[in-house]
């Protein structure tokens, strides 16, 4: 197993009126893309803030890069990058100046080549000398991403990096995130676009009310909790399914014009069911199969809470 770049043990953050993080334990492996998912107010930003030094944890341990010491020490932050959820910008400076300042904060000499590279990757090259207040909302978000990456961090937190970013640029950003991973950068991502997590993540963590409900490789999660749905459209309506087609899990819907079979792992496969329907000589007009998305799986996890573990 790869080394952990981040380990949390029993991380808890209590506000006077609520518990934002409730005993979260988690390992982030070097070089992975980890998607932290959960509804509004689940505790995602709080978790990231605790690691990056924006939030003071009530209790628990944070260990970065296998260091013996705990807590977000100043030294570890040289290697961290953060795209905060809230857009912030200093209207006094241009895009390029902001990135130079950011390099300086991280103890680096100005590196214009790196700045140009990041600006290019985020499609901000044209705006390099524009004052930050003259950027559109999506451009400001991309500037936040550029700022988080310009000092070549080993571990990057992207807190909703594509909120308000248009479809095309979002895909560009995904590609860039994959490139970062290929270069060895570890990425922790939060997003409400589950398509984004499905596209990018190696592993998924679901958090709700400050509790981590599950952590699992994305592919395993989809196959464990996801289902394959077989829909067979009939050319004429049936009152009920004939003898040979009465299979566990297959139901007649839509006034008898459709047979739907939901395949769960370890059950009869859709192909077998379809074979049985043909054998029963049903008037089949059209066949359709679909797999559930991460979105459907997420809904199920949240509905069932910790029970889906």
């Amino acid at each position: 197993m790869a080394d952990a770049v981040l380990e949390l043990e029993g991380l808890t953050k209590r506000y006077p009126k609520l518990v934002a993080l409730d005993g979260v334990s988690l390992r982030i492996e070097a070089g992975e893309i980890f998607a932290l998912l959960g509804p509004n107010g689940a505790g995602k930003t709080t978790l990231i803030g605790a690691v990056c030094g924006l939030v003071k944890p009530t209790s628990g341990l944070i260990r970065l890069f296998g260091a013996a010491e705990t807590g977000s020490t100043v030294a570890a932050r040289y290697q961290l990058g953060l795209v905060p959820q809230e857009i912030n910008f200093d209207p006094f400076f241009t895009v390029r100046e902001c990135l130079r300042i950011q390099q300086g904060y991280y103890g680096r000499q100005p590196d214009e080549a790196r700045i140009d590279e990041v600006l290019g990757a985020l499609k901000l090259a044209e705006k390099a000398d524009a004052p930050t207040r003259a950027l559109s909302g999506g451009m400001k978000r991309r500037l936040l991403v550029a700022k988080a990456l310009v000092h070549r961090p080993r571990l990057v937190f992207l807190d909703e990096p594509t909120a308000g970013v248009d479809v095309e640029l979002r895909r560009d950003l995904w590609q860039y995130v994959r490139k970062l991973r290929a270069e060895g950068t570890t990425i922790v991502l939060t997003t409400h676009y589950l398509e984004e997590a499905e596209e990018l993540a190696d592993r998924v963590g679901v958090i709700d009310h400050g509790k981590l409900l599950l952590v699992e490789p994305k592919a395993a999660l989809l196959s464990r909790l996801g289902e394959r749905r077989l829909t067979v459209r009939l050319s004429s309506a049936l009152a009920e399914l004939p003898e040979g087609a009465r299979l566990e899990g297959a139901v007649l819907e839509d006034g008898g014009t459709r047979v739907v079979y939901r395949e769960r792992r370890g059950e009869k496969s859709s192909a077998e069911v379809l074979g049985a329907l043909y054998a029963a000589k049903l008037p089949i007009a059209e066949v359709e199969t679909a797999s559930s998305s991460l979105e459907e799986v997420m809904m199920r996890v949240l509905r069932e809470g910790g029970a889906a573990r």
Binding site: L54, N88, Q102, G104
Partner: protein, 253 residues
């Protein structure tokens, strides 16, 4: 120590105030000239003397103090406050900048502005009074300590304030009275008791009298006592600010 980080913060602070030259350059020019007109000339100050020094010359150290103290305070308080409001404080907190780095960066930036405005004020005063600088090193010592104290006070105010008007509490309710009771425009020696003794508890008196000792070689209080008291004040205020920054007072949830 992240020295590049501190330098970056300092340069950023300097560039920020250099972008508002109206505030940093023009306003000391105007206010100093006005003070000279009002206090130096129209109030009959042309003939008046204090302890053998012409009144226009006598108020120069106080005017330098005013420009320096106000600008040092204004720079760190407004800069930190704006950083909190803009949300760019996140950049500072997430970066490898500890309490020491933040403290040095903000204080050095504010002191630079304070000392710059103090210097400009003095240059304007030269036009009215000619050069008067008896002890350059002593003068600089007091300028430095005054700038340091007010930069830290500004930092504390900026940390504490949640609303913009709160930034002004401190200048209005503390600095303004202490300044006007601090002998900027008169000799505290001439105050009747008990005000004369009371003024010995006003740190501004030591700053103004210290500058007077340095520039005019005239002072109502011992410069050495002044230097030690101000150094003690600067160090304890800085230590307080360090502890608050390290704990993330009002900047970290």
């Amino acid at each position: 120590m992240n020295t590049i980080g501190v330098r970056t913060l300092l340069v950023k602070e300097v560039r920020r105030f250099m972008r508002v030259p109206g505030q940093t350059v023009l306003s000391p020019l105007i206010s100093t000239s006005l003070y000279f007109l009002v206090f130096g000339y129209t109030l009959g100050g042309r003939q008046a003397e204090v302890d053998g020094v012409p009144y226009v010359a006598y108020i120069v150290p106080g005017l330098v103090f005013l420009g320096l103290a106000n600008n040092a305070f204004l720079n760190s308080s407004s800069s930190l406050f704006i950083t909190k409001i803009q949300g760019t404080i996140v950049d500072l907190l997430a970066a490898p900048l500890g309490a020491t780095e933040l403290l040095v960066g903000f204080i050095a930036g504010a002191m630079t502005r304070g000392l710059l405005v103090g210097l400009l004020t003095w240059l304007v005063a030269l036009v009215f009074t000619g050069v008067q600088l008896a002890h350059p090193a002593l003068t600089f010592g007091f300028l430095f300590l005054t700038a340091w104290v007010f930069s830290v006070l500004g930092l504390l105010a900026g940390l504490w304030a949640d609303k913009f008007e709160q930034i002004n509490f401190f200048p209005t309710f503390l600095m303004l009275p202490l300044t006007f009771l601090g002998g900027v425009f008169y000799s505290v020696h001439r105050l009747p008791e008990p005000f004369r003794t009371a003024s010995l508890f006003n740190p501004v008196v030591y700053m103004v009298e210290g500058l007077r000792a340095g520039m005019l070689d005239k002072s109502d209080v011992s410069p050495l006592l002044g230097l030690s008291l101000l150094l003690g004040l600067a160090v304890s205020a800085t230590a307080t600010a360090w502890v608050l920054l390290a704990r993330g007072y009002k900047i970290r949830n």
